[in-house]
Symmetry: C2
Subunit: 308 residues, 2 copies
């Protein structure tokens, strides 16, 4: 069994070491030393188009992240080449940390308390009503559902929106384009965890963002291109939206001249909300390779019609 | 049945309204309109000494907060006047929000990212090791145990220290003075949730704080007098401690000239981590009054020997 690895500049040696330990019977090497046409399996992050094109005989391609939007050439591959995303591999826990922090920071007004400390002001602010602080999560896959449960445990009203209805205990489910407006209208803090697909690109434009109630807040930890930057800025500047915490951007690194950098109501971080962990990912992928070799089904297969 | 209410300037009307609804058979009034000597039960927050002294014939006194250190005159009351603290009444959830935010802010280095945004710097910092980021909780009562469980769910190593050993799933328990040093030595972020008693006053002095490993961080959400301010400042300034998030202080409001206000490594808030909620508290207290009237035991009775 031949396994090809391409990690786009991140530490491929760590991936190969971990794979060698997990699958000692396999031949594992990085591209282009290993020929793509010979590979049974490939682990890829941001592969060049010529690499993907040569994988027509592979059994499965594992994407080393949650979103597969970095591989547009996949649509040209034969249907029997399985495309498999990471199910979680330690990302949910990191995502929960990031989103909990961002939402509690807003709900408990910790930025206002930073200002008060600077001014030497001792003042207990009246607490925002938690019943009115509905957390609305766009996208209810593995990560979205875990984030939803974390907010339920803290007593927040929680709702999710996804393509198809989801049953998550304590969470209101909205589904499909026809329910998006009512989902947005009842959301106080919008957490975007959508995959980037044809349907979600530019989804959060002026019209959609304006459906949020006045004073709403956006947290985007999914993909920058789901949000129309200029529309978000216009709605913050008009006072309709209170602000945003952004971890992802249409172009990364975010260009120096982009107005997000120094906007007083935007908190930004350089795509750090959840990073792929080598050990947990290799454990998951090697278990799936063993199942596939044994003719058993695996979870996380990307539906190419929907792109996630 | 006569119930006396004294809430030290906060909204006593809301308490009396809620009590009237919960216990319509009782006569409820605020002190001094209601005489203390006639009261069967008293709900108190920061009462004057002359009020407490006159409660020698009451069946029970309910303290409207988690800590009873605001009532030093209690020791003079007859032993058969029960002193009852609030078990939780919505405080644990607020405390979890506050402490999660403070610890994740430090662990995920969100203050460093604020600086990077100001400088226009796109740089993904290497992640601190979660295995080495042990959350150590001083005090494992109702609040401490709930906070511990919240960190266990997020995958942090968690340990608690209390007077007597505690069994909390996934949490290492240290107990008694003889285990305090080893607890401190293995704690990366110390969360203080201790009641203020003779034993805990000034507990976190130069000697104790120096037992924490270099780079440790303090979060105090209990009582300011557990920490010796000058010793904390000296250990931060020497570089032994990384900093502190403080919600409580020896004197409140914190005096204008106190060095905590403008210290670059101290985040402070004006005693807002968890506030008493009228509805939840009255529901709990009225249920306890009904049990006491029926001769049944109640939870939350303060042990006067230990002061909590």
């Amino acid at each position: 069994m031949k396994i090809l690895v391409h990690t786009a500049g991140s530490d491929s040696a760590a991936w190969i070491d971990a794979l060698n330990q997990a699958l000692p019977e396999a031949g594992i090497d990085r591209w282009p030393a290993a020929r793509a046409a010979d590979a049974d399996y490939a682990l890829l992050w941001k592969p060049p188009p010529e690499l993907v094109r040569d994988l027509a005989h592979a059994k499965a391609i594992f994407n080393l992240g949650a979103g597969v939007d970095s591989m547009p050439e996949l649509s040209a591959l034969p249907r029997d080449v399985l495309l498999v995303r990471l199910d979680d591999a330690g990302m949910a826990e990191q995502m929960i940390e990031y989103v909990l922090h961002a939402v509690i920071r807003r709900y408990r007004e910790f930025d206002a308390y930073v200002d008060q400390q600077r001014e030497g002001l001792w003042h207990q602010r009246s607490r925002l009503s938690k019943n009115e602080f509905t957390v609305g999560i766009l996208g209810a896959g593995v990560l979205g559902a875990e984030v939803a449960r974390a907010f339920v445990r803290l007593g927040f009203p929680v709702q999710v929106w996804s393509r198809t209805p989801k049953a998550i205990s304590g969470v209101t489910s909205f589904a499909g384009p026809q329910e998006l407006d009512s989902f947005l209208a009842s959301t106080r803090v919008l957490v975007c965890l959508l995959p980037l697909t044809r349907e979600t690109k530019d989804l959060l434009d002026q019209v959609r963002l304006a459906r949020l109630p006045r004073g709403a807040y956006l947290v985007n930890v999914a993909r920058g291109a789901v949000v129309v930057d200029a529309d978000l800025l216009a709605l913050i500047d008009s006072g309709h939206l209170e602000g945003a915490t952004l971890d992802v951007f249409r172009d990364e690194p975010l260009p120096k001249a982009h107005p997000f950098w120094h906007h007083p109501r935007i908190v930004l971080t350089p795509h750090v909300s959840a990073v792929t962990r080598v050990e947990a990912s290799v454990a998951q992928i090697s278990a799936k390779i063993r199942r596939l070799e044994a003719g058993l089904p695996v979870t996380g297969i990307v539906d190419r019609r929907h792109g996630y």
